[in-house]
């Protein structure tokens, strides 16, 4: 059930997008945030063999089965999270980046993120004035069960506030911003620790960027189950 091989023909010099028939799992081990259970990670390997050549490429990734929901509570104005249907009390740390000279090493990520887990945190927020964190950061968040709140690169202080008042329209090149955002999403989207994308820090991005991000990141209609469609909760992820 967890091994499939399919035949695909790809025209010369072309790219195609291929979707495997869905793989069925009965009661898989779920990925849980720190303090709620184990961080079960499955190894997913995709390989492509070409007739007359042999193995042409291979890709692997650790994948965690988990469902993360969040919405703004109308009573408190706070964002509430559920993981695998269970409400979770978020205890978070704020993350700028591991080093201002970008001396980003696996060892440092491992140490810093394990430290957050040892402090009984279950979420790290990556501030919009810093980086979209790197796959090595997310790897250790997957391992140690830290949910990640990842912001894009918009902040009020250089995008609309300050003295003199900064440009509220965000970076000059909006197309470049979206290109970078889309590429970053593709880089990070398979990590189970990735919980929430946010437009920026203390600021809503300019309308065209905000609308594009919201549109690109909304749940694909194929994955909205009838169970979810019946709910009236706004912002269900």
């Amino acid at each position: 059930e967890h091994l499939q091989t399919r035949h695909v023909s790809i025209p010369a010099g072309k790219s195609v997008q291929y979707t495997f028939p869905e793989l069925f799992f009965y009661k898989p081990n779920l990925w849980w945030p720190n303090g709620m259970g184990k961080q079960s990670l499955y190894n997913v390997i995709i390989t492509v063999d070409v007739e007359g050549y042999g193995e042409s490429d291979s890709w692997s990734h650790l994948f965690g089965f988990r469902k993360i929901e969040s919405y703004i509570d109308s009573g408190t104005g706070g964002r509430l999270f559920k993981v695998n249907g269970q409400p979770i009390f978020i205890r978070g740390g704020n993350w700028i980046l591991s080093d201002g000279l970008l001396r980003l090493s696996r060892k440092r990520y491992k140490t810093d993120i394990k430290f957050h887990a040892d402090m009984n945190f279950n979420m790290i927020r990556c501030w919009g004035g810093g980086l979209a964190e790197r796959p090595e950061f997310y790897h250790y968040c997957d391992i140690y069960g830290l949910l990640v709140w990842q912001e894009f690169w918009i902040t009020g202080d250089v995008d609309g506030r300050g003295v003199p008042v900064s440009n509220p329209d965000g970076p000059l090149d909006h197309d470049l911003f979206l290109l970078c955002a889309r590429d970053t999403i593709k880089l990070l989207r398979n990590h189970p620790s990735l919980a929430l994308w946010v437009g920026g820090n203390e600021q809503v991005p300019p309308p065209d960027l905000n609308n594009a991000l919201k549109n690109d990141l909304k749940l694909h209609p194929y994955f909205v189950t009838s169970e979810e469609a019946g709910k009236s909760i706004q912002g269900l992820s």
Partner: protein
């Protein structure tokens, strides 16, 4: 046949300030490669930043100790050229027929010109984007390849007002880049604005067909008893003929030690 997969280029890099190198990228990667870490060349931090390279070589002190940052010249005062740097390395790889070699940059701040064996490629602007160059046709037949990268700082590095402030004069907000680098709350201004090859560089060998950015999604039913994994991927056929492929997906769980459930 070279083994398929990724090789990270994270050692053996050299760097030099562009204004101190009188050679072109073509010369650096053909007839006049740097011979080693002798002036103006020094050992480079890749991935890393220009400032990180200067600290590594003790050309400037570590800005995060005491008030040492005050002794390092800011890009607003030095000009962008001061923090525009060449990075150089070599790699050895020989391909067999139908193999392809991609030169991957996972992130550069802010833009760059790449020279490989005398051939120029431009990496466009943007700090948070990947660049993937198919360099199969410009590899040297003997397997020895020379790579030079000229890295430019952000377009709007800005100035730091005497009183500091959030994001300095806010100019950095015009670029798609980290915004804290002009200083923020407790963060000192980063003198080079994080200019550099700041994330992984690798070469990647594939056959005629390459897997690009797979996407994994799971759906849950019946109280998490019935679960589905949905996998989509892009496949690129670089060859001049129709590629008949067998595409395989396998999911395993490491239960304990080296025991896997398939």
């Amino acid at each position: 046949m070279a083994e398929i997969g990724k090789i990270v280029l994270d050692s053996g890099w050299l760097a030099a300030r562009s204004t101190e190198v009188q050679l072109t990228g073509t010369q650096l990667t053909t007839t006049h490669p740097p011979s080693g870490p002798t002036s103006p060349w020094m050992e480079a931090a890749v991935p890393g930043t220009v400032l990180g390279t200067l600290v590594k070589n003790k050309v400037v002190p570590d800005p995060f100790y005491g008030l040492e940052n005050e002794t390092i010249i800011d890009i607003a005062d030095s000009g962008r050229e001061y923090y525009t740097f060449w990075f150089f390395t070599t790699f050895e790889r020989k391909l067999s027929g139908n193999q392809h070699l991609l030169l991957n940059f996972r992130a550069i701040n802010y833009s760059a010109e790449v020279y490989l064996n005398g051939h120029k490629k431009v990496l466009p602007k943007g700090m948070f984007r990947r660049h993937s160059l198919d360099v199969t046709d410009i590899l040297n037949p003997d397997g020895q390849n020379l790579l030079a990268v000229l890295v430019h700082p952000p377009d709007h590095p800005g100035e730091i007002p005497p009183e500091g402030g959030q994001g300095g004069d806010h100019e950095i907000g015009k670029d798609v880049a980290t915004q804290y680098v002009e200083g923020w709350d407790w963060i000192v201004p980063i003198r080079d604005r994080n200019t550099g090859i700041w994330d992984e560089v690798s070469i990647y060998i594939t056959g005629p067909v390459k897997i690009i950015d797979p996407h994994l999604v799971s759906t849950f039913f019946d109280g998490y008893k019935r679960v589905y994994l949905h996998a989509t991927t892009e496949l690129e056929n670089k060859s001049a003929w129709v590629a008949e492929c067998n595409l395989t997906i396998q999911v395993s769980l490491e239960l304990e030690g080296s025991i896997c459930l398939v």
